[in-house]
């Protein structure tokens, strides 16, 4: 059997899970799109845009994505230490992203603009919150992979690392759609 194929085999099942997650996000996007004008006098999509904060969030997630890819490269190169450092970098940047999102959500809720305020805000919190939840759970998984990498031989961790990297890239891909359509074009569409 082709070595590259046997390499990819453990990732196949995980890939299918990611695709099913894509369908979940498609449903959330559809909900948001249908409800986006039902603001009931509350803040609309345009009011949520804080360009500098959004930019920091986006770049943090993008660089985190690169760090994850470099962890994979280090792992393939046989360097456990470098892989661990890149994983930590990816985790820290993920925390930056999450911290800013929690800050955004808590400010909205403190102002009385929580998910119960309008159908638009329900759709917004469901969509962006589900993505944030994925990043949070991904961070926990990342820590588990770090521990596994630290304690076990590198070769045993590589399939886990490959799946984790795939998941992390997928989260960035979902974020591209969210920051473009929900935030940047929020008041335009």
């Amino acid at each position: 059997m082709n070595t590259s194929l046997s390499h990819e085999r453990p990732v196949f099942g995980f890939w299918l899970y990611i695709l099913s997650d894509c369908v979940l996000f498609a449903a959330l996007f559809a909900t948001y799109a249908v409800l986006r004008h039902s603001t009931v006098g509350g803040p609309g999509p345009g009011a949520l845009l804080d360009l500098p904060i959004l930019f920091i969030q986006t770049i943090a997630l993008l660089v985190s994505n690169l760090a994850m890819a470099l962890a994979l490269v280090s792992g393939h190169g046989g360097s456990k230490k470098a892989a661990l450092w890149w994983l930590f970098a990816a985790l820290l940047l993920g925390f930056v992203f999450l911290g800013l999102e929690i800050r955004e959500f808590s400010v909205l809720i403190a102002e009385g603009h929580g998910p119960a305020r309008s159908a638009f805000l329900s759709g917004f919190f469901a969509l962006v919150g589900t993505h944030g939840l994925h990043v949070a759970l991904g961070s926990v998984w990342l820590l588990v992979v770090c521990a596994h990498l630290y304690l076990r031989p590198l070769q045993e961790t590589m399939p886990k690392l490959r799946s984790l990297a795939l998941f992390w890239h997928f989260l960035d891909i979902i974020w591209i759609i969210i920051f473009s359509l929900v935030y940047l074009l929020g008041s335009h569409l």
Binding site: L19, A26, S38, V40, L62, L181, L185, H188, L189
Partner: protein, 114 residues
């Protein structure tokens, strides 16, 4: 392998800058330049381009040994398009028959939270 990731990252970074730059400039010029339609086209085009970049450089779509990725992803995108397009279509069409304006998505003071 590392060059591929660095290329993917650089392209993504530039496309992100483009999206934010266009919207930032739009805000700076008091929402006049570039005109509304161009902002929408530019941001959507940049997002689509960045999706392609991520697919090719990070998810390894298009590698010969990974044809199954392209096939399964394509099918998922079809399902996603049906869910998204179908929802918007149905809800937009409902508006013609609905007695209340809220089904057309027009915010009105009478609109209730369900």
């Amino acid at each position: 392998m590392i060059t591929r990731y660095l290329t993917g990252f650089s392209l993504s970074f530039l496309l992100t800058l483009l999206s934010f730059g266009v919207v930032w400039f739009h805000q700076q010029t008091g929402h006049e330049l570039p005109v509304h339609a161009y902002v929408v086209v530019a941001v959507i085009a940049a997002a689509l381009a960045q999706l392609m970049v991520q697919f090719v450089y990070f998810l390894e779509i298009g590698k010969k040994s990974g044809a199954w990725r392209l096939v399964t992803l394509s099918l998922t995108l079809v399902v996603a398009a049906i869910v998204l397009g179908g929802s918007l279509w149905i809800m937009a069409t409902l508006g013609h028959a609905a007695p209340s304006e809220r089904f057309r998505g027009i915010p009105s003071p009478q609109t209730q939270v369900d």
